[in-house]
Amino acid sequence: MSAHEEVPPAATAGGAAAVAPGTADTGTPGDKAPRRSRREGLTPPSWLALLFLLPALVLLGFLVVYPIVYSVIRSFFDAGGDSFVGLDNYAGVFQGHDNLVSVRNTAVWVVVAPTVVTIVGLLFAVLAERIRWATVFKLVVFMPMAISFLASGVIFRLVYEQDPDKGVANAAMVAIHDTFAGGASYPGAGPRNGDGQPVKAEGGAVVTTAAVDPGRTALVPLLRVKPETLPKTAKPAAQPPSAQSGEVTGTVWFDFTKGGGGQSNAPNAGESGLPGVTVEAVRGSKVVATATTKDDGTFTLRKVGDGPVTIRLPQDNFTASYRGAEWLGSTLITPAIIVSYLWVWAGFAMVLIAAGLAAIPRDALEAARVDGATEWQVFRRVTIPLLAPVLVVVLVTLVINVLKVFDLVFIIGGGDPNASVLALQMWTEAFGGGNDQGAGSAIAVLLFLLVMPAMLFNIRRLRQERK
């Protein structure tokens, strides 16, 4: 063996060429010995292999392996690197508000994001098998994988804009909310100024000036209703329905006749009722009945009880309408960023799982169906178990990726410590103003330790494949 290794490649080649060509692949069982020697002669020497490997090994050695060792050592020293502090830097990762938040967020990310992305990917892959435009669909969902997290971050900063007139997420939320909840709200509306009016402003609410006895009616004329806040369902204001005993009825309307005219404080023709207004009957400081106005502005407060009540239109009616969620506020920011992560990575999970699905033998599915299994049972008992290896690979890949997620949080979170994760905290500590290389190294090493199980998983898988 060693003798052959010393033969320079040119000589090897020459030697090989000297052997009659044509016998190369057709060695018969009889000529074992010469064949082996020929093969060994063909094997290039080790030093040549190392030459091929050299550039890769140098780069990996200097820029990957050495830094790992350096970071581990550095993580045991203080910010300046002068004195040995043992595990203090590691303990520090779990101290202080911002650090704890980033640890908590990382845990949320690692648990939630890979699971959700895998489930969504599975769902898409399964459903896409049932449609004809599956290729187009997969392309659309996979597309964000090609885009940078920075661009995705800018995209979702726009999506999550707080103002529903600007951010598409809140615009959609408000549209849905208003469809189902009526969404009537009349910011700026209020009673006519001056004395002797039937209603007056009190705090932010509107109340009747005089108490109303049960069995009577109340008129609540309002002014300064903005035309754009008036729902399309609003009908012309009607006279209050007649009140039974124990009831108070009334009308809330926009006491303004287009083009002037009309009598003040009476629902005239051409004046609009105000639907969806909450009306309360108040005795003392207790709300005894509530109602909501109909499209023509009328309301009926039932079971008011005995004794006069004040009719109150609470402040909610006049504050600004539903404005959607505070996506980038301290509570929703991490879920919101995870959604954007889902947008980027669902395609990855889908494509891998779809490939796994395609590889499932049709016979297995057919056999289950023949045995009388429903589609759900086939999915649950046959597809999923056969798909399990793929699902595990997808999950592991995503966990590794999630631990490293930096750009999305950095861009969408915009430096908000409520959004921070360890990968970002590492950068903040070491480069982004923290200037504590000990702490930064400790977080980096911690991240490295967290991906270790995935590393072992990969190695085990490789070894199994070799066998």
């Binding site: 490997l53 990957v64 970071s71 459903l127 669909f137 940078s148 726009l158």
Partner: protein, 317 residues
């Protein structure tokens, strides 16, 4: 149980017939009809659901594109969907203003100067190494390959500080590694290598042994074989890898944030520096982000077959 089995046994056959000619279910029409209806309903539901999903996936990017075509004033006055009623808002003025900024144009070229050499270097260095791992023998080969596989998952964070220090020490004749394009490129290459070697070794190892031995026997040196046999045969895998590497590096922010200087910063870093005033800078950020994503998208759509193959080979295999 057995009766149930018996009745259901017929079902798949019927269903198949339904698909084929529509009246194969004559034996039990109700069941066949029900199955068909369920299938169709399920199909319809899937259609509707996935159409909605596709919409969800497209709208955010559409929003960015439209926002990039509107003025700052328009964007701050109302959402991008207003263009459906006011199409006159659309203009390329934000783009032309952005392209007049020398900083941005420089950063665009820097992105190319970082991305292209990195991709080429990763492909060449990893191919060489992968060939050695696949077809050459040397002591410790399997252990070394396991090490490469282990390095697949190393987070870049662990190397940022040490490499920054290392680069800080490299300074010959006025050339400083830290803050240079070369520094960014080498870091990317190093961290691209484990995946690249892994992907290519698996592919090269699948090349038929006979082909290789024939080439060796014909007197080709290892270098010739590598260039004439392996490299061309590895085409699809190399294409996948090249596309991946291109996209990764093009899209990177963290590495350039640490290692690039103001003269060598790519688009991502430049755009990030404009993020401080998000609403005020939409006329820079939206067109900038769109320009930075359009090239990856073109690459993706042009080579999506290789891209998907790469994803599959990199994870499942």
């Amino acid at each position: 149980m057995s009766t149930a089995d018996r009745t259901d046994t017929v079902e798949p056959a019927e269903r198949d017939d339904d698909g084929a000619n529509g009246n194969g279910a004559a034996g039990s029409p109700r069941r066949g009809f029900a199955a068909r209806a369920t299938a169709r309903l399920g199909g319809g539901l899937a259609q509707a659901l996935l159409a909605l999903v596709a919409l969800f996936w497209l709208v955010p990017t559409l929003g960015l594109l439209v926002a990039s075509l509107r003025s700052n004033a328009d964007n701050n006055a109302g959402g991008w969907w207003q263009v459906f009623t006011k199409p006159s808002q659309l203009s390329f003025s934000s783009y032309s203003a952005l392209l007049d900024k020398p900083d941005f144009v420089d950063s665009f070229w820097n992105t190319i100067l970082i991305t292209v050499p990195t991709t080429v270097l990763v492909v060449v260095i990893a191919s060489l190494a992968a060939y050695a791992f696949a077809w050459m023998e040397f002591p410790g080969r399997d252990w070394l390959f396991l090490l490469v596989v282990a390095l697949l998952v190393v987070p870049v964070q662990v190397a940022l500080l040490p490499v920054a220090k290392l680069y800080g020490k490299i300074d010959f004749g006025g050339f400083q590694m830290f803050g240079s394009i070369a520094g960014v490129v080498l870091f990317h290459v190093a961290f691209g290598l484990p995946f690249a070697i892994f992907l290519l070794r698996n592919f090269f190892a699948a090349i038929p042994r006979d082909l290789l031995e024939a080439a060796r026997m014909d007197g080709g040196s290892e270098w010739t074989i590598f260039r004439r046999v392996i490299f061309p045969l590895g085409g699809p895998a190399i294409a996948s890898l090249g596309i991946f590497q291109f996209l990764w590096v093009w899209n990177d922010l963290l590495v350039s944030l640490v290692f690039a200087g103001t003269d060598s910063q790519p688009m991502t870093k430049w755009l990030q520096s404009q993020m401080r005033q998000f609403t005020g800078n939409i006329d820079i950020l939206a067109p900038g982000a769109f320009l930075s994503l359009i090239i990856p998208l073109v690459v993706f759509f042009a080579f999506q077959r290789y891209f998907v193959q790469g994803v599959l080979a990199g994870s499942v295999k």
